[in-house]
Amino acid sequence: MTTKFTKDHEWVRLDGDIATVGITKHAAEQLGDVVFVELPDVGKSFGQGDDMAVVESVKAASDVYAPVAGEIVETNGAIVDAPEGVNDGPEGDGWFVKMKLSDASQLDELMDEAAYKEHAADA
């Protein structure tokens, strides 16, 4: 299971044909304390780069984009009830959604961990 990253600071991890998506540790640190998360409904489909979720901290409200195209199969209700979960484990228990990919090859366009680290350091 490899994790891929977008330039907008989302991560995506593929397991079979289901991808788990969240925001990176770097993004969570930049946002500061997350106070609100809005997730899409299960069954909704998104194209790559579409606005998919909203995350709001004491500093700013940001859109979370679909890193790859697909259909939402599960959402993480825990971070809606307790948004601090995003700060506690952004790349673990603080995941946002699971989606069924429509085109796995889109993953190839995303960054690997080393490339993302460099990208985040520049930002």
């Binding site: 930049q30 500061g32 304390d33 106070v35 609100f36 004491v58 500093k59 700013a60 409200a61 940001s62 948004p83 601090e84 930002a123």
Partner: protein
Amino acid sequence: MTNETFTGHKGLQLEVPLLFEEGSYEKAGVDLPQPSGTKSRLGDQGAEHAPHLPAFTEPQAMRHFVRLSQKNYAIDMGIFPLGSCTMKHNPRLNEKMARLPGFADLHPLAPEKTAQGALALIHELQDWLCELTGMPAVAMSPKAGAHGELCGMMAIRAAIVAKGEEKTRTRVLVPESAHGTNPATAVQCGFTVDKLPGTEDGRVDLEAMKAKLGDDVAAIMVTNPNTCGLFERDIRAMADAVHEAGGYFYCDGANFNAIVGKARPGDLGVDAMHINLHKTFSTPHGGGGPGSGPTVLSDALAPFAPIPAVVKEGETFRLIEQEEGDFADSFGRMVAFHGQMGMFVRALSYMLSHGADGLRKVGEDSVLNANYVRVRLAEEMTQGYPGPCMHEALFSDKWLKDTGVGTLDFAKAMIDEGFHPMTMYFPLVVSGAMLIEPTETESKASLDEFCDSLLGLAKAAKAGETERFKNAPYFAPRSRLDETKAARQPKLRWVEPEEGAMAAE
């Protein structure tokens, strides 16, 4: 000596309990005897008890609100450098004019012939706004900036509907540095929003914008000068390109203060722009008064302007209330009456007391002041984008890297120095943004005190004096608030403590 007092007050800093904590149900401002000989016509359907609202004697109520007002910070006390807000001095002459009984006591439903003076004032203000912007028409009724945006986008939508293109022209292009109200307005009007990328130097990327144009583009919404405090140098080319593609150009006029008297949006190809009277034309805002957002419209959009509107027929002024005559294609009515009359009086007072030359000087001095602040602070702080700015100076948090101090901490420490902080974390395109708009109000001495203090704080942050920042403000009536807890577990209503709990205390 001790820091604690028996009262909780600290010298002239008087503590203020909540109205619910301080009031009682027995007190009254005016004590009238119980009426006798009256009988309720509600039978046994009357209220079981009076509503539980705390009551006060008159001096108690007076002290409550005066004490609260003393904890306020206002433009009348010091520099208010909030970027994108144009917190300038509100001349007292404006207030005097707005309180003239002929304006202040006029009822909005007064017959036209008894309100000719007020209508003449609105008409004259319309002339000034059209002249200053180089636009043929203006809608006076929008009540604030975002409402003016809504007016402009509704006019654009009406024009698109009139051409029968409402099914196909659905996309609105908005730069990523835009005020959040821009995409919100576009969505409110039924459009989808497409983000425009910026260039390395903080402007809209003209080529990227052109690449996004097509017959499905309804409009672009661009702020000029933009929210990075920079003039969009390609604005004319952007306007031409969007017009060529059959779309319209909405300009967010929030930052008009920087160019008033210097450049006319009409000459830049704008189709609609709201003007914040409460920014550029000095009417109070930010808790001090309602906003007012007249929206100027190009020839292409003028037929769709909302009603009511003031027109001059011979020597008589009329309020057009129906969709008739020149207003037959009006998109309709946004508000009940003609707009914010009190703000119209203040804005016209400001214009007349400054004159055309004075207003040009406003634009010039606001830009000069911002650049003075920019150059002085650049000694210690990193500019968001290189080069000169317009009316506001933008800094990023790059210079705070590895100091353990963030933008928020720095802003809170400014409160201890006696300043209202600048705009923080906006625009979003710059990391840890600090956006400073001094306006033309401030003198060199005032700007120097401000800059000296910020440079001092910047040096302290770099020298590792994190203690000074960590829980700042220390000298404010309340120290650092837990904003996270307030957002995650908001307390939205006061709950009466139980009697037992009170006794136990």
